[in-house]
Structure formats: C-alpha cells, structure tokens
C-alpha cells in the first residue's frame, strides 16, 4: 500500500470515527439540549476501559494501570461501551437532579477538567501521561498492516452507518420528539407528564453509549490512549462540527464532521511547516475550527442542514398511517339526531 493510499484510508477511518462521536453529541446537545462540555471524558473513559480489558495485567515496574483482563476484541469493546455508558449515567443522573443551564455547563466543565487532572497525575490508574499502549483491533495480529487498515476502515464505516440509522430512527420517533420537547420548554413538558430528569438522563446515556463506542474503536485503531488524546479542546472540535453541520439533525452533524474536522485536518497536511515552528499548526487548526464556530453562531446558528421542523403535513401523514380512515356510511343511514 502506497503512502497516499494509506493516507486516504486512514483519513476515511478517522472521518468515520469522528462521525460516530459527533452523532452521540448531537443527541445530547442537538436533540436534548444538554451542553455536555465533558463529552470527550466519556469517550476517554470508554477508551481506557477497553484498554484495560484488552491488555494483559500490567507488567509492573514503570508501567502501571488497573485491570488488565486480556480479553479479545469484541468483549473489550462492549466492556468499554458499558463502562462509558455507566459513567455517563452516573454523571447525568446526579447533575440533572438539581442543575440547569449554566451551573450544569459549569459542573460538566469541572468534571472534565478534574478527570484530566486526576488521570494525568495519578499513574496507578492508567499510567498517567504515558497512557495505555499496545491495544489492537480485530485480527490485527493475523493481518498485514495494510490489510488491517482496510479492515478497520470497513468496520468503522459499517458501525457509522448503523449508528446513523439508529440515531435517525430515535430522532424521528416519539422519543425524539419528547427529547426536543424537554429541550424547548422543560416546564411545559413536565406539565404534560414527562419527567425531565428521566428524559434527559436517557438522552445523555444513549449519547454516552455512542461516545463509548467511538472511544473504544478509536483506542483500538490507534493502538493506545493517553491524556493527550482527550484534552479540553477535543469536545470543542465536535461541538463546532455540530454547529456548522446542523444541530439536532444526525445527517447534519455527520456533514459537519466531514467538512469541518476532516477538512481542517486535511488542510493541515498540505501546509508545510511554518517558520520552523511545528507547534504552530495544531494551534492554527484550533483557531480555524473556533473561527468556523463563531462564524456560524453569528450568521447561521442552525447550521448547514437545520433541524427538520415538523409540519402539519408530517403530522397528518403520521395520523393517517396509524389510524386509517374508515369508510363513511352513505347518506341516509340511521344516525340518531342527524338531519337528512
């Protein structure tokens, strides 16, 4: 496989992985209105969980981490997802009890900052700044390097399509409508019998499970996971993709991730090192991402593909599908109280 082919394939894989992640955030923020600044922490939790499930026991000495079960690929992924969803559930259920809007944003931000601090400075958990290494994807040992790349690309694309279909289904279902109702007017939703806490937690957890899936796949693809992979700006990248592409619409979110994340990443590959400062490029990419976010927030906050507004025609169509019109009786049939 030539370097160019490798580039294209890995871009595609990263694109699919980012797509999965953005879809999860879209459910939490776009549909349910929860600004989750700690989204990438859930991704990291799952990545680490997958790692400690897949790796064997810590060899000791300088390398230390908890767990180390030595499981194969699939159980590790599922374990990672479950831990990620569990973490999200714990966090969400506590936070939504008493907090709204800015205090919620503050708390989630603090959670993300605190987790980073703890994991980085306390090596016994996940080997601190070094992180976990040596993770592998399915059948990686039996495939060639290029074969593995192709296989993982296929895997992530399949998973992406599956996640997209599932989340679109949720988005268009009554559950999706309930999420949007709670987002738009919590008091009104509560007044008609929806429990905001339950609904928000549900959306949060489904999004968290998606984050977990993405994180688990990410970690096994790159072969490791360390604090550098989940710094604070990571959530911003996903958020920008969401706002640019279309908040609340899964396809829009995916579009945003393709244009913005892949676009900026790819643009970075073509720019030569500027002024002998290799650290400049990531910062410029960050500024570009933020600039796109600001631009869209200023001029078009709904994004490129806005959320579908339900129209009367949609409602009518649904009503007809669920309750087909019965054949009217011909005029003159006996009906008490009816004039001719």
């Amino acid at each position: 496989m030539s370097a160019f082919e490798f580039l294209i394939i890995s871009l595609g894989t990263f694109g699919a992985l980012n797509g999965i992640l953005v879809l999860g955030l879209n459910l939490q923020f776009g549909t349910a209105g929860i600004l989750n600044l700690s989204y990438f922490t859930a991704v990291a939790v799952s990545a680490y969980a997958t790692g400690v499930a897949e790796l064997h026991h810590a060899p000791g000495g300088l390398v230390q981490y908890i767990g180390g079960f030595g499981w194969p690929f699939l159980p590790s992924i599922l374990f990672g997802m479950a831990v990620g969803a569990g973490f999200t559930f714990l966090l969400g259920s506590m936070a939504f009890l008493r907090l709204r809007e800015d205090y919620l944003g503050l708390t989630l931000f603090a959670v993300q900052a605190g987790c980073l601090l703890v994991v980085t400075d306390y090596p016994p958990l996940f080997d601190g700044p070094r992180g976990l290494v040596g993770l592998s994807g399915p059948f990686q040992s039996t495939l060639s390097a290029s074969g593995f790349q192709v296989e993982f690309l296929a895997l992530t694309v399949v998973v992406l399509v599956a996640v997209l279909l599932v989340l679109q289904r949720i988005d268009r279902s009554p559950l999706g409508r309930i999420f949007r109702a709670v987002r738009d007017d919590e008091t009104a939703a509560a007044a008609v019998g929806q429990d905001p806490w339950r609904r928000k937690t549900a959306a949060f957890v489904i999004g968290g499970a998606t984050a977990g899936l993405g994180g688990a796949l990410f970690a096994t693809y790159v072969g490791g996971w360390d604090p550098g992979a989940w710094q604070t700006p990571e959530t911003l990248v996903l958020l920008s993709a969401l706002v640019v592409g279309g908040r609340g619409r899964p396809l829009g979110a995916l579009l945003g991730s393709l244009f913005l994340i892949e676009g900026i990443n790819e643009a970075g590959l073509w720019i030569p090192t500027i002024a002998n400062r290799p650290d400049l490029l990531p910062s410029l990419q960050g500024i570009a991402t933020a600039a796109a976010l600001f631009a869209f927030l200023w001029w078009r906050p709904q994004g490129i593909l806005p959320e579908r507004r339900e129209r009367v025609a949609d409602f009518e169509r649904r009503r007809r599908r669920l309750a087909p019109r019965r054949v009217r009786r011909t005029a003159g049939a006996t009906e008490p109280g009816r004039l001719a």
């Binding site: 907090l99 800015d102 944003g105 603090a110 601090l117 090596p123 910062s283 976010l293 600001f294």
Partner: protein, 293 residues
C-alpha cells in the same frame, strides 16, 4: 501539618484574588466566563514582557503592569467580541459555548504568539521566614496581604458605591435594572475591567509561585477557581475568599495523607456535593443564576 496549612494559605490567597474576579463577573452578568483562565495566562505573560523584556521593570511594577494590561485586554474582548455576540444570540447556552470557545482560541493564539517554551520571571530570590508556626517567603506574605486588601476593597465596592449597587441590581434582574435606567453596558465593561485586572494579578502571582510556566498556566488552576467560587457562593466576595481558603488549605493538607495526584479528587467531590446539596454555596449566592432549580 502546620507548614502545609501555611502553604495552603498562600495558595488560597492567589486563588482568592482570582476567585474574586470570577465571582464578580459571574454574579453580575450571570454567565460563566470560561475564558477567565486565559486572562490569568495573559497576566503572567504581560509580566514576562515587562519584566524580562525590553522594559526590565521590577517584579512589583510588572505585577501592576500585568493587572492593568489584563484589565484592558478583558475590556477589549468584552466590548469587541463577547457583548455583541451575547446581544445577538442571547441565551445562556450560547454564552457558554462562546466563552468556552473563546478560552480555547485564546490558548491557541498565545501559542502562536509566545510559543510553548517555559518562561520565567526575574525577581530576587525568596527568603523564607518563620512567621509564627508557618514558613513563608516575602512574596507569600505580600500575596496574602494583597488578597485581604482586595477582599475589603471588593466588599466596599459592592456594598457602598453606586457602581456596586448597580452591579448587584444587574445580577438580580437585568431587565429591571435597565428599566431603572442603569447603563448596563457601562457596568458590564467595568466588571470586565475589574475581573480582568484581578485575573492578571493572580496570574503573575501564580507565575512567581510556580517559577516556570507556559501558556496553560491559567487553565490549570481554572478548576480550583471554579471550585472555590461555587463552594463559597456566587457573587459574594467573602464567599469567594472562603471557598479559596478551603480549597487551598485542604489541597495542601490532603497531600500529606493521599497521593498528590488525587488532590483534585477532593475538590471534585466537594464540588459535586455542593452542586447537589447546596448549589448556592456555603455563604449563599446573591443571585439566582439560571442554573438553580
């Protein structure tokens, strides 16, 4: 143990100054300014520029320069960027996204301008003195004195001046304050300057405390600042300082008993507990931010 409390009090003083500014901003404008950590970093780098740069000012003058320039910077950002954005897209969620993005943009801009090398300030070496049971350097004592003075100044500002009264009114009910004829944009600008200056000052103190630092110096303490402010109660200067003392001292003391890396967990747990049990903080918040149920 007593030494740890002493060190904790020094940390607490720096945190307190930062927390005073943050609490003021949050209490008056009712949105979280995540970019506050970036203002701290700005102050530290302004001190580097005036101290080690062409001007070669003494460290004390550099602190003043840092405070003043950061206040101005904060004013420019508020007037030119934050305020127009929040006017155009009002709503708490937007304000959060915008300030969060702003903090990360500023971080990137700092790297572009100043690079990622570690910086140092030029100052005469600290000599440690025994003050009672504590071990403090002359810088530590000055920092603590500053924080006490600034606390008194802040309480006087909010409690006894007309500007302070307008700030408190805006924090309670922005529309009503406008109806009463208060020039809310001016007050917001004033808040930006004051909180920016406090952030700049705290940033320099932090830089002195840590000896070497990079552009992320402010963001690293933002977590502790948030903890202090929420613990003590939004909008109350005394609350911010109380929270800072609790956080600063407990982190230093906790290091004696638990591994150093786990100290943030303490702040973490305290934060979650406060959020769930008493979101208005220990001393009670002066405003009811939208976040409370």
């Amino acid at each position: 143990m007593l030494h740890s409390i002493g060190f904790g009090l020094v940390d607490a003083s720096i945190l307190a100054i930062a927390a005073l500014g943050f609490s003021l901003q949050f209490g008056v404008t009712n949105y979280v300014n995540f970019a506050y950590g970036a203002y701290l970093s700005f102050g530290a780098y302004m001190a580097v520029w005036s101290n080690s740069g062409p001007l070669h000012l003494s460290i004390w003058l550099s602190m003043v320069v840092a405070a003043v320039t950061t206040g101005m910077f904060s004013w420019v950002v508020d007037r030119g960027f934050l305020a127009p954005f929040i006017r155009r897209r009002s709503g708490l969620i937007f304000a959060l996204i915008i300030t969060f993005t702003l903090s990360l943009v500023l971080d990137d801009v700092y790297i572009v301008i100043w690079g990622t090398t570690f910086r140092e300030l030029n100052y005469s070496a600290p000599h440690t003195m025994s003050v009672g049971p504590f071990l403090w350097s002359q810088y530590d004592v000055i920092f603590m004195a500053c924080s006490i003075l600034l606390l008194i100044a802040m309480m006087a500002l909010l409690g006894r001046t007309r500007l302070g009264r307008m700030m408190r009114a805006m924090g309670d009910d922005l529309d009503l304050a406008r109806v009463c004829g208060f020039r809310t944009r001016r007050v917001t600008s004033a808040v930006a300057v004051i909180s920016g200056a406090l952030a700049g000052l705290a940033g320099v103190m932090l830089a002195i405390e840590q000896h070497t630092f990079t552009t992320s110096i402010g963001d690293n303490v933002l977590f502790l600042i948030l903890g202090s402010v929420i613990l003590g109660g939004i909008g109350r200067p005394a609350g911010a300082v109380l929270g800072a003392i609790l956080v600063g001292v407990s982190v230093q003391v906790a290091v004696l008993f638990i591994p150093a890396g786990l100290a943030p967990v303490l702040v973490f747990v305290a934060l979650i507990a406060v959020m769930l049990l008493r979101p208005e903080g220990l001393l009670g918040a002066t405003t009811r931010p939208a976040g409370q149920l």
